[in-house]
């Protein structure tokens, strides 16, 4: 399956991926209108320390701890992708604790949110990848 991979060597820590992620989730037409005066809560995060930076989002693990930890059956596999059914999620956030990458976070609605490779918005392709100015984030089969 094609996954989002990050090459830390080329990551500039510009945080554009976070904004493209947040914008994609709004399904809007204009980033300025969609994200004006909003504190974004993206599903991809830049980790940075001591001059090293890279973006982290869901790895779509083969043996996902988050799915095992989910008490309500909200997190599950569809093909090879890990998806979340927010209707079923009870907001216990066990998945947040279980994910070794810190790729799951609470959403504004109290339920968990995670990267679903932009399949649930109108983008059609991961927008973090499309918007990365330095080719640091790629979407490919490995």
């Amino acid at each position: 399956m094609k996954r989002v991979y990050v090459n830390e060597k080329w990551c500039l820590g510009c945080h554009l991926c976070e904004y493209n992620c947040a914008f994609a989730a709004t399904n809007g037409d204009d980033m300025a209108r969609s994200l004006m005066n909003i504190k974004i809560n993206p599903k991809i995060h830049i980790e940075e320390k001591d001059g090293i930076c890279f973006a982290v989002s869901c790895r779509h693990c083969e043996n996902p701890y988050c799915v095992s930890a989910c008490i309500s059956g909200a997190l599950h596999k569809e093909a090879d992708m890990i998806v979340i059914d927010s209707e079923k999620c009870v907001g216990c956030l066990s998945c947040v604790l279980a994910c070794p990458y810190g790729a799951i976070s609470p959403s504004e609605d109290g339920v968990a949110q995670k990267c679903e490779l932009c399949t649930k918005n109108k983008s059609g392709e991961p927008m973090c990848v499309k918007g990365c100015p330095n080719g640091a984030i790629v979407f490919e089969e490995r």
């Binding site: 820590g13 945080h15 300025a32």
Partner: protein, 501 residues
Amino acid sequence: MAIDYIFPDYEVIRNKDRCISCRVCERQCSNGVHTFLEKENKMVSDDTKCVNCHRCVCLCPTHALKIVKSDNTFKENGNWKNSTIKEIYRQAGTGGVLLSSMGNPKDYPVYFDRILLNASQVTNPSIDPLREPMETRSYLGARPKTIQRDEKGRLINNLPPHLELSMPIMFSAMSYGSLSYNAHEALARAAEALGICYNTGEGGLHEDFYKYGKNTIVQVASGRFGVHKDYLNSGCAVEIKIGQGAKPGIGGHLPGAKILGDVSRTRMIPEGSDAVSPAPHHDIYSIEDLRQLVYSIKEATNYTKPVIVKIAAVHNVSAIASGIARSGADIIAIDGFRGGTGAAPTRIRDNVGIPIELALASVDKRLRDEGIRDNVSLVVGGSIRSSADLFKAICLGADACYIGTAALLAMGCHLCRTCMTGKCNWGIATQNPELVKRLNPNISYERLVNMLVAWNHEVEEMMGGMGINSIEALKGNRLMLRGVGLNEKELEILGIKHAGE
């Protein structure tokens, strides 16, 4: 605080209806123009620090930024322009020589823009390059003077070493040190992919790039930085740099602050020491001396590589070229007064040298008149901005062109002309690792390849329009050129007729 006499050149205009305070501009500006005010949740900018490099403009995801020229002005004066007044203030404040980067930006005539090309109509058919083969492959080097045969009458191959290029373009000399590692990698990989050459400049060749040797011209300049036997033998040609169009007659100076780690190792000088290239080569004070260096290099490379001598276009360029053509050099490279640089004294850059169009025409004529044109190939640089400039240069007698600034633009350079600060926001003219990584060679090499593939298509289209299917038939073909708005003397030097003649 003392009075600051100089007002900012540019204003950063932020569209408040579009700025989402994502702080990308702040993170991307190495000059510290943008700041985020946490309490007010708003971005502000300090115009005094802006160099107009457009990094923030290009990366702003909502297109909320633009940079405009400040309309603040001194009292209008045709003689004392704003820029002239500011330069006086700057010098009065610092006591220093003014420094500038990239090519001469002054409003001198651009002869390429006053030359028009011919095309076929009725009496000679044009050629469609999409349907018929077109040849842009070029060979650089001395041509054999005689046909030699062995005792059985078979041809003896007496061809001196040549450079083979898939198109008559090469990347001009830009050193590792003045450019970043990633920029050099992009140039090297693009040259390999295109089947052309790039040039190390005077900074030596990084050990990682020896593998691109067959597409590398290694340079020997007055500082002799990074020159050793393996270096000379690693490339496909050796270039002796006498002068550079942006600063004819003077040397170079890479500050010690940039001589770190790999740059120091590649240049073979201690870390932190200034790399000062003398103005002249101290062993070359005549054509005879030049001949000694040419043949020293040929000995060191076992006569397998062509030797290029690069000079700046100055007043006596044709006489100098005539001497070089007799020195044993295989290729003469001439750099016009608009050629770029990482740093040069402003007065030198803006006032010394002559236009490449005139220098090229006069050198080509002189060498032909003296019957020594076949001793050498001619390569010209100094602001070849498009395939049209390239095409016209070839018609004026060049065998190939060097492009520097155009290549940097393809990699993202926005010609802000502040290379000398070492804070290039595009990761090109800097050694700061945080900035260097902004230039991903995987992207930039592709952009370089794209640009030159496009240029080559355009050259083929123009050749086809003239009914010419080989670049060799175009070389020195001045009948294909006509001048517009040029006086008799200019036309005479260029060796072309006026439009309508």
